[in-house]
């Protein structure tokens, strides 16, 4: 059987034989090509400067695989790039593991691979090693992607979820809940007026600018699954501090807020894929905010709250009408499979 001429992915493509080689050399390599991947060895061999490295991994099983503003491919690259950047590192190399369900249209596969190459280019990282498996129909859902990556941490940078201090300001780099709502509406076939698009984006350039500005940054974290609310709870307990958020300052698109209202979701718990939370000393907050706002992906950034020494481990929200409520960790899932 000539698998190359078929218009869907077949088990042959993952069998390690001619079809596998053709898939890699004709469809994947030309798009991902770089000096380390081109070597064609079992693993990537690359030079590293002295110092500290950050290493992160994430698997992507989002359903649907295509959605407004992106697909599982760029999501998988941006996600790992961002996880490395949130360690205060400059992402350099990533690996890609593909698990494909037999029957995936070749066109879909190509579009996903193309998006991954574009995303890697945009982030300035190299895809240096990878693996492709094909499983029988029903044993996976279209395509699952694992990406892992490494990055170098510049000297003097010390960013961690345990470093938030009372008095620090909490900055969110843009509107919340865009990704989760884009996925939900795509999956459920809900149609709303307005442009509900994923915010999936690489944040490493924004982080690099912040860290090389000389500003002190205590914590960086991307509020993906569980949203801003859950992420801040994690930081509050890691650092043993309390937090107060201000509802009036929370950036959210009107249409996203509208969908949340309609479906009874709290946007504080909805996933983001192109936003970061930066916790910085008060005296540097406005400078860091300006730096974030100057980035392509940070135009709607805002200071959304502050770190306190009250009620350690807890996050509170001052509501627009002057009330106060607890923002607890998300329990269970509001939405299934969003990344």
């Amino acid at each position: 059987m000539n698998a190359e001429n078929n218009n869907t992915i077949l088990l042959d493509h993952g069998a390690g034989g001619k079809a596998s080689h053709a898939l890699f050399s004709k469809m994947i390599l030309p798009l991902f090509s770089n000096e380390y991947l081109d070597m064609g060895d079992d693993g990537a061999v690359y030079p590293v400067p002295a110092g500290r490295m950050a290493f992160s991994t994430d698997s992507y099983v989002v359903d649907p695989i295509f959605f407004n503003g992106g697909n599982i491919g760029d999501l998988a690259v941006n996600g790992t790039v961002n996880d490395i950047a949130m360690c205060g590192a400059i992402p350099l190399y990533i690996s890609v593991g593909l698990i494909i369900e037999e029957g995936l249209p070749i066109n879909d596969f190509q579009e996903i691979i193309k998006s991954m190459a574009t995303a890697a280019g945009r982030a300035g990282v190299k895809i240096v090693t990878g693996d492709t498996k094909v499983v029988p129909r029903g044993k996976a859902d279209k395509i699952f992607i694992n990406t892992s990556g490494v990055g170098m941490i510049p000297d003097g940078v010390n960013v961690s979820g345990s470093r938030a201090l009372p008095g620090d300001k909490i900055i969110l780099s843009g509107t919340m809940a865009d990704h989760g709502i884009a996925i939900l509406t795509a999956r459920e076939g809900l149609t709303f007026d307005g442009d509900l698009k994923t915010d999936s984006a690489p944040l490493n350039h924004m982080v690099k600018t912040m860290l090389s500005s000389g500003c002190e940054v205590h914590v960086l974290r991307d509020p993906t699954r569980g949203g801003v609310g859950t992420t801040l709870n994690e930081i509050a307990s890691q650092s043993g501090v309390g937090m107060t958020l201000f509802e009036k300052d929370l950036p959210i698109k009107k249409q996203v807020n509208g969908v949340c209202e309609l479906l009874g979701f709290d946007p504080l718990y909805i996933a983001n894929e192109g936003k970061l939370l930066a916790i910085v000393p008060e005296k540097q907050a406005s400078k860091v905010l300006d730096l974030i706002k100057a980035d392509t992906f940070g135009k709607n950034a805002a200071i959304i709250g502050q770190v306190t020494d009250q009620r350690p481990g807890k996050v509170f929200l001052e509501t627009a009408i002057g009330g106060q409520r607890l923002v607890d960790m998300l329990t269970g899932e509001q939405l299934p499979r969003i990344c």
Partner: protein, 361 residues
């Protein structure tokens, strides 16, 4: 920039004025019950409890449909999902509610075909797409949802979607309020009546309960200004000693409600007695399929062999739903019963009083 229509109902300065008026005018301690779970959620989300004076205690009532669904009905949904070639369809918040044993989410994990839908019509569509399967919709909800369920049954009848059925556990609001008022120990100085339910029932549906018990009652919407306005009206009624049945939600609720929706509802369903979780049987508080539509009754379609299992010991959900206890007074609250390991229904539904206390407290 001008405020949008919705933003006006969240206007901080308007809220401030209302709160100031409530503080000024409220002299005597008042126990006000928000009947509806959506009100409970809104009150917590906007942090309304801690801006009200100490004189005002807000109690959460029996208006969270998931919370009041009898354990036996949940057991029935689970039992249906265990039948061969069945797709169970449900609103999302019912998924994690425990019956006497497992939950629908648990059944899904174990391999049952349980699907979350946003509308009962999605269930009819699934039935159309899967003619070889039985598609059962777990019909839970108050007057707000019953008309759409009735419309779905009518559609299934018209289009001969014979593999569609519903397992009915729908409930009516006014009979529950009447039952509440005659329960020993219950003391309520005012009802914040549900907005969405009243869109269907109208103001008149509460007239008989009001005339009998003369409890100050205000129908209102779900924005902070709506709720604060209703609280102020209830304070004024109490302080003046002149109880009334008032509508603070005229932008959505008409005196006679939505007669067309009620007509559809009564075309398909007839009033019956219903079991409320934690409360027990309330006369004429449920709706069952009329004989003409009995063919759509999942209860009759499957042999479920359900047994009565006692509700969990120590769980105060019943007393909480009647305003006799607050969640914090329950011995299980936060200790054994959490949103991850809910014992009673008030902890599992996002609109349940216990979950609201836990998540936003």
């Amino acid at each position: 920039m001008g405020l949008t229509y919705l933003e006006k109902f969240r206007d901080p300065s308007l809220a401030k004025n209302l709160v100031a008026a409530i503080h000024k005018e409220s002299r005597h301690p008042l126990r006000l019950m928000e009947v509806c779970g959506t009100h409970t959620m809104a009150i917590f989300r906007h942090g309304i409890r801690n801006i009200l004076p100490e004189t005002i205690t807000l109690l959460s009532g029996p208006g969270c449909p998931v919370c009041v669904t009898a354990q036996k009905d949940i057991d029935a949904f689970v039992a249906v999902s265990r039948q061969p070639d069945v797709i169970v369809t449900t609103f999302g918040d019912l998924m994690r509610v425990p019956g006497s044993g497992t939950t629908l989410a648990g059944q899904k994990g174990a391999g049952a075909d349980v699907r979350m839908v946003y509308s009962v019509f999605d269930a009819v569509t699934i039935a159309r797409q899967n003619p070889e399967k039985q598609v059962v919709f777990c019909a839970v909800g108050f007057e707000t949802t019953i008309p759409t369920i009735a419309a779905a049954v009518l559609m299934a009848a018209k289009e001969k979607v014979t593999n569609f059925s519903i397992y009915g556990a729908n409930k009516l609001t006014p009979p529950a309020l009447a039952a509440l008022m005659t329960t020993p120990g219950v003391s309520i100085d005012g009802f914040i009546l549900p907005g969405h339910v009243s869109v269907i029932t109208g103001v008149d549906a509460y007239r008989s309960v009001f005339e009998t018990h003369k409890v100050p009652s205000v129908i209102t919407g779900f924005e902070p200004i709506d709720i604060l306005h209703a609280v102020l009206m209830l304070v004024r009624q109490n302080e003046s000693g002149v109880p009334a049945l008032e509508n603070a939600y005229p932008r959505a609720v008409r005196q006679s409600g939505n007669p067309k929706a009620r007509e559809v509802m009564h075309q398909v369903f007839t009033v019956c007695d219903a079991a409320w979780r934690g409360i027990g049987l309330i006369k004429n508080s449920g709706m069952e399929l009329k004989p003409d539509f009995k063919v759509f009754d999942a209860g009759a379609r499957f042999e479920l062999n359900l047994t009565d299992v006692a509700e969990p010991k120590g769980c105060a959900c019943g007393e909480i739903l009647m305003g006799l206890k607050t969640p914090v007074a329950c011995a299980l609250y936060k200790k054994v019963c959490t949103p991850m390991t809910p014992v009673g229904p008030c902890m599992v539904s996002s609109e349940g009083a216990c979950a609201a206390y836990y998540n936003y407290g």
